[in-house]
Symmetry: C2
Subunit: 205 residues, 2 copies
């Protein structure tokens, strides 16, 4: 017996649609779409299991026009408590956020929110592998940057320091990714580098 | 400068409200509420960082009646790809689902969905710590049960085997939890037991 979901449709193996599956390769995809394609790729090759978390919603009113479909008629966006992406890679807990800037010389800290910094800090305290996938859109450059370094800049900014991370620091303390057709954002190379260079599970205070 | 979210309200430190914070202790709480309280407790004591994932929603129409608040006017429930809970504990990736039954002698497999079984299998393949928090409501008994054993029963049921897990098996291969005032569902005791008994990251096939 196939299992049916509340919308009356049988389970088809995840939320991915055929349209999403075709559009790989970075042609006009957003950073989120490229990461979703990357996560699909890593999962299919049994290299890692990572998902983007759904956007948290406060549901107020739901209509049931038919037994086949529930329609949410009133709902509100809630403030997330965490970062967007997490999962497991060779026994390690991965946790990351993806951000991009049009700046050419530095990455603005206003791209981050306090709950993301707090969550990174808590996960580092549990020896999670925490990082940011940073894209410099204009420069066509992409980095994995350790959350521990981000936290240092965040704390410095709180006490009057600069409000952005210089590209030179990201080049020095991050790992540059070179996008491929598959996967579009090969961030596991950056994770391997984080592990090798011991930039994992440590908050420099 | 306080950071403002799309609803125009400043960030207040997570989605938790005062009302949610008060109602600890298992008095009339649902399994989900008790696990949320447990996760808050573990996080505050820096023992683990675990969250329930938001319900995935397909948003179709959003109204902006004022600059202060976006109202979702049409949206649909999507089929989740994963289990409900994940996070990090002492460097380990935790992944679990919470389920309850009114049965007294066995736990029905129909409580689980194919995507949950597939996700458990994939996470075990990456050496994640995967389990179910199972409550027998009528018996007032609560267990941590390894996902690897659940998968064995699921596969057996697919080939004509029984459609439920006997309580005797859960007593033998699971870890019984004894609810407390704080935390209501002390599942980390079950996680420690899973790790010690090596029921982690292994799929018996």
């Amino acid at each position: 017996m196939p299992i049916h979901y509340p919308n009356g449709k049988p389970y088809q193996g995840g939320a991915q649609t055929a349209a999403q599956a075709v559009n790989y390769g970075g042609r006009g995809m957003t950073l989120e779409q490229e990461l979703n394609a990357t996560n699909d790729y890593y999962r299919q090759l049994r290299m890692a299991v990572v998902y983007k978390k759904p956007t948290p919603i406060q549901i107020v009113k739901v209509d049931y026009p038919s037994r086949a479909q529930a329609v949410i008629k009133e709902a509100y966006f809630k403030t997330p408590s965490t970062t967007d992406y997490n999962g497991v890679y060779q026994g390690l807990y991965l946790d990351f956020e993806a951000k991009e800037t049009k700046n050419k010389a530095s990455f603005p800290l206003k791209n981050f929110h306090p709950h993301q910094i707090r969550h990174f800090s808590e996960c580092l305290g549990q020896a999670g592998v925490c990082f940011v996938v940073m894209r410099f859109v204009t420069l066509h450059r992409l980095f994995v940057y350790p959350a521990s370094n981000l936290i240092m800049y965040w704390q410095a900014a709180d006490t009057g320091g600069r409000k952005s991370i210089p590209l030179t620091d990201i080049e020095t303390n991050g790992f540059e990714l070179h996008p491929k057709l598959q996967p579009p954002i090969p961030y596991l190379a950056g994770v391997d580098w984080l592990i090798q260079t011991k930039k994992v599970g440590i908050i420099d205070e």
